[in-house]
Symmetry: C2
Subunit: 315 residues, 2 copies
């Protein structure tokens, strides 16, 4: 009967038909768990995300696209933004699943740099440490940071603030480095008073923005470390009666769907999030199948998308 299910040799046409009939009759489906335990191949790819939010959602869509036609199934594990177990839940999940429930995993939870699990291929998206031992998909955050800042400079802005991202993330650091580099290249000093915390949290960013914008010598432009932050900045500005982009230009980073829909639509550096998900799955499948690993550190390029939240500075 197992032979029938798995299309193996050594079954007479008669038995085959009979067994098939009964299987249909009973609506039988093999237990995934028992299969997993026996075969070590499961044809399931796990994606571990820290939380369900716009970035991870976009990434999941890309991953879902990529998985189609590969014969793999997709299972998403969300830590649900939990706090109690900040370190190592990735590792714990991974070891519990590996070898059995999943053939490989994509880690979208960037806070931990783990050395891979022995038998289980893992691809990290935008990891903590930058180029780790693990295969990695990320995007060119350094260049993106420069692009955003240069755009504002080209529009005539000189007092350009930065709302930073999470300090523990390499990607956020690189965006800041790009910002500083662009100012330096333009021969401008960095006014440290214009660099404020954002942590990629809407609340924190909004608070920083409110304080910043209430100061007498406020900036004419803000580069926000991601779109969530940028949208918070726009809202804070509007609360204070400032118009965007007339009184304040805002540039974001990420290009989540919300950035095109907010008011006004956000000029942002496009990180190809869906493609990152796509590539991550693609790479992982290749690793699982034991194909030649070509390149295991893929950096996708970033691009500026100009929308209505910026325009030339009018003096």
């Amino acid at each position: 009967m197992s032979k029938v299910l798995n299309q193996r040799y050594g079954v007479s046409a008669d038995t085959f038909a009979r067994v098939t009939a009964v299987i249909k009759e009973m609506g039988y489906e093999a237990s995934l768990v028992a299969q997993s335990l026996r075969n070590h191949r499961t044809n399931v790819i796990g994606i571990l995300v820290a939380d369900i939010e716009p970035f991870s959602t976009e990434l999941l869509k890309g991953a879902a696209d990529a998985i189609r036609g590969t014969g793999f199934e997709l299972v998403v594990y969300s830590a649900g933004g939990r706090i109690g177990d900040p370190q190592g839940w990735e590792h714990r999940y991974l070891t519990r699943l590996s070898g059995t429930l999943v053939d490989g995993a994509v880690l979208v939870t960037p806070a931990v740099d783990l050395e891979g699990i022995p038998g289980t291929p893992v691809v990290a998206v935008d990891p903590h440490t930058g180029r780790a031992a693990l295969p990695t998909i990320d995007s060119d955050n350094l260049h993106g940071g420069r692009l955003a800042t240069e755009h504002l400079l080209a529009l005539g802005h000189r007092r350009i603030a930065l709302i930073t991202g999470r300090e523990d993330l390499k990607s956020a650091q690189q965006r800041e480095t790009g910002y500083r580099g662009a100012l330096a290249s333009a021969g401008l000093p960095v006014d440290e008073n214009l660099v404020r915390r954002g942590d990629y949290e809407a609340d924190i960013a909004a608070e920083s923005a409110r304080r910043l914008l209430r100061e007498p010598d406020r900036p004419t432009a803000v580069f926000a470390a991601n779109d969530i932050t940028a949208i918070a900045v726009i809202q804070a500005a509007q609360e204070l009666g400032l118009r965007v982009p007339e009184d304040l230009a805002v540039v974001g980073f990420d290009n989540i769907p919300e950035s095109a829909l907010c008011t006004p639509p956000l000029t942002t550096v496009q990180q190809p999030i869906r493609e990152m998900g796509h590539r991550a799955v693609e790479l992982l499948v290749r690793l699982i199948n034991g194909d030649e690993p070509t390149d295991t550190h893929i950096t996708l390029s970033t691009e500026l998308v100009v929308r209505q939240s910026t325009r030339p500075l009018t003096p």
Copy 2:
């Protein structure tokens, strides 16, 4: 050693310490699969979604909230909007997982009405059939449809179009029934030419809207069967040079985050999506634990949220 892990009686302090040390040393974690196979309790709740899109994402957030502190883990299975297997993938997944990998499941994939799996509690969100045999969470779509339509009537509109939702979904039908009912109550006939297909698909809805709005006797208001549809309508109107809400009022349904961010922000009927996710998990946990099932068909109420996409009709 199993006893150590599971905190069972009959282990000396000495052995406990030694075993614990080795476990730490090796970074051991019990295999979820083997555990599942042995114990039939897994402490995992599965959520099956048809696709990763704004509605299911919102719902997942609510579910993730609810799961905290219950001792359950959350695993999401996405069909990835697949087409080849339109019927019954839910059933297939469910039978493959049930009794082993998950203790229960939430179905967010509304297209199929299945009778429950023997041993596995299942809660359906917004199901195909309305009040099925399965425990159900939904919202008051009928009332919501009335609310939306009555709002437009109160603003003075008389030519109110409807872009419908997916025909196979009870919820979409109810929104339409609410629309027709409100018009009838106001003593207005339904102009069938103003009722167009949307299928909850942005492309289809946009095309319907473009045709509708190009006709000589176009409506002054549109009730869109969900927010995705409504945003598509707004974009179509803007393409044609119509201003929203000056030339066309638009009301949506669902209240996904995008509806507050689109331009102009969308007046919409609020379906408490997050709460639906929350309630679904809550109910499921209760069923799994064998608690008294109180009420297994929960209908949450809907409310109108007025934003800038509607305002009184100016003749």
